[in-house]
């Protein structure tokens, strides 16, 4: 079962660039259950990596370890050259490691504009400014307007987010993550709950923005078509371990992947 090919990543990448994120032998145990069993992977800021695997393969646990939502049982996480294994969640975000969730995490009682502006202000670490009015803060307002434009959200700017359609909420969630100017974004099922016709539009918006801003993307996805069309590289996880890590065509044709994942009826 040890079909690990972590070494192959370096061959597909330009050897001179440093990985933006590197996990070394990352491990997570919940009592007797080993959810992530020594995963070593490298990710670069100019690629889009899809993570696949059956339910319980450890995909979400792995992303939670990266974001800091869970603490490591063992192993090291290096981001942008620094060991961040013990860094608090919000500090990882401030360094440019941002994740989004399966269910859009937005502020329901605020307007779309305020949602994005809040992220802009947080990125600038201006949360503790006490005596300046946010609705007169031209710098953050202009940046927010540009982001709304980029994600086609201008028409919703003054709406409260509660009643937005699901697809728009997803896009807003992504726009808020982009406002943080990440170096690497980890997306947990960016198109879940989005109608099948909209899925491609959502993915296009995300990947275009990522390429434009030079942001590395890691995304978990169940839809094999999407994975195939948008990934530069695919990582297959199975029972907490790396089953395969290669370019999409190779992974999709791998025997092990076909046996454990594709035929597993995901």
């Amino acid at each position: 079962m040890s079909t690990r090919e972590t070494d192959s990543t370096s061959t597909t990448q330009n050897a001179s660039t440093e990985p933006i994120l590197r996990t070394e032998n990352v491990r997570k145990e919940f009592g007797n259950l080993v959810a992530v069993d020594g995963v070593s992977l490298e990710f670069y800021d100019d690629e889009i990596v899809g993570i696949i695997g059956p339910n319980g393969a450890g995909k979400t646990t792995y992303t939670n370890l990266i974001s800091g939502a869970l603490s490591l049982t063992d192993g090291t996480i290096v981001f942008d050259g620094d060991d961040i294994s013990d860094l608090r969640k919000y500090k990882r975000v401030r360094r440019g490691l941002v994740r989004s969730f399966q269910i859009p995490q937005i502020y329901d009682e605020l307007t779309v504009f305020e949602n994005v502006q809040s992220s802009v202000l947080s990125r600038k670490q201006e949360n503790n400014r006490l005596f300046s009015l946010t609705h007169r803060d031209t710098a953050s307002i202009e940046e927010t307007e540009r982001l709304l434009e980029m994600f086609n959200l201008e028409s919703h700017a003054d709406e409260h987010t509660e009643h937005l359609p699901h697809g728009v909420r997803k896009i807003l969630d992504v726009a808020m993550s982009f406002a943080l100017r990440p170096k690497l974004m980890v997306l947990d099922e960016p198109t879940s709950g989005v109608g099948s016709r909209e899925k491609n539009a959502v993915m296009e918006t995300i990947t275009d923005a990522a390429v434009e801003r030079n942001i590395g993307l890691i995304f978990i996805e169940h839809d094999m078509e999407l994975i195939r069309s948008y990934s530069d590289r695919i990582v297959a996880l199975h029972e907490g371990r790396v089953l395969d890590d290669d370019d999409p065509a190779a992974v999709m044709n791998s025997e092990a992947v076909n046996q454990f994942i594709l035929e597993g009826g995901v």
Binding site: Y90, K91, Y107, S122, N128, F131, T134, H135
Partner: protein, 345 residues
């Protein structure tokens, strides 16, 4: 990580001009003038006292609402801050011989801020009812210590009487009680109330205020935007505690006698009640709530000895019908609704 101190934003001349022409500001100015002139024009000591009382609790309810309305945490321990404000004034006057009002108010805010920092640091990690129960337990701990006079500062349940403080070296405390209140102290409370409103209005519309709302609306997202949420919850507790402490300090001089009852959980309950009655989802709601609560209590007390029943019923009905909107939010929604209908037809 930046640890920039809070700064006064670059308020340009034009912005300032716009602010001055704001309708709300004009309304506030008129209200301030009317309230300031009221005691002198009517010479009604009872009304002046009632207004002073209302304004003290309006400050308390406004301060409390930072935590409940903006950060989204139900504290059932705000009596600790109110009581700390009161005890600081009386102990500083009677034991340390400090008689200047300004010094006393600053001391009270600092002391309440420290208590807020301690209770906050212990409780910000907990959620919802656990936060309510923990703040309740910690405040009640303070009540028990004061009631049993542990430490020998509070004289137990008898409480401590206090004399009137002076102001900037002027021996104004020698004036008769009703002149002291109607000619001086009432106006101090009035200025404090409007200063609180002005400061909070700015603070809650600043990035800081938006950050508190982010935490209320979605903690996960706030944290994933790089906000250290526990620290901001703590900040909101300390700010809230300082303002409630100021309210307590002002109120101590109005009642002239400080007892542990002001630290008791029923006091916390009343502060929550006031904020909720007016509407925790609005900025001015807590002021309306404090006024409504105290006027209702006065009226109910005048008509029947069973005013608890009246208050309980009102709280029950408000919680079930208006929730976070309260009277003020409910009225606003009603006006919006009527406007919409008129536009439609």
């Amino acid at each position: 990580m930046s640890t920039r101190l809070p700064t006064f934003g670059d308020m340009k001349a034009q912005e300032l001009k716009g602010l001055l022409l704001d309708k709300r500001l004009l309304g506030g100015g008129v209200l301030f003038a009317a309230l300031a002139l009221y005691p002198g024009l009517t010479m009604n000591a009872y009304h002046t006292r009632l207004l002073a009382w209302i304004m003290c609790f309006a400050i308390a309810a406004l301060g409390f609402n930072i935590v409940l309305g903006y950060t989204g945490l139900l504290s059932f321990g705000h009596a600790a801050f109110f009581g700390t404000g009161m005890y600081t004034v009386v102990i500083a006057m009677e034991s340390a011989g400090i008689t200047d009002l300004i010094v006393l108010l600053v001391l009270a805010m600092l002391a309440a801020g420290v208590v807020g920092a301690v209770i906050g640091a212990l409780s910000v990690k907990t959620h919802e009812i656990y936060f309510a129960l923990l703040t309740l337990a910690l405040a009640q701990l303070l009540y028990v210590l004061a009631a049993r006079d542990v430490g020998g500062l509070t004289r137990g349940t008898d409480g401590i009487g206090l004399s009137r403080p002076d102001f900037l070296g002027i021996p104004i405390s020698e004036a008769p009680a009703h002149i002291y209140l109607m000619g001086f102290y009432y106006h101090v409370i009035l200025v404090c109330l409007f200063a609180t409103i002005a400061v909070l209005w700015l603070v809650l519309r600043s990035p800081f205020g938006l950050t508190l709302k982010m935490i209320r609306e979605n903690e996960t997202r706030a944290e994933m935007s790089g906000v250290p949420i526990l620290r901001y919850r703590l900040y909101s507790m300390v700010l809230s505690a300082m303002i409630v402490g100021l309210a307590g300090a002002l109120y101590a001089v109005v009642v002239g006698h400080v007892t542990p009852e002001y630290l008791d959980w029923t006091m916390s309950g009343e502060i929550v009640f006031m904020a909720l009655l007016g509407g925790i989802g609005t900025f001015l709601g807590p002021i309306i709530g404090a006024s409504g609560f105290i006027i209702l209590q006065e009226v109910a007390l005048g008509v029947t000895t069973y005013w608890h029943f009246t208050m309980g019923l009102v709280l029950f009905v408000v919680v079930l019908t208006l929730r976070e909107k309260g009277i003020w939010g409910g009225a606003k929604a009603l006006v919006d609704d009527l406007n919409e209908r008129r536009d439609d037809s």
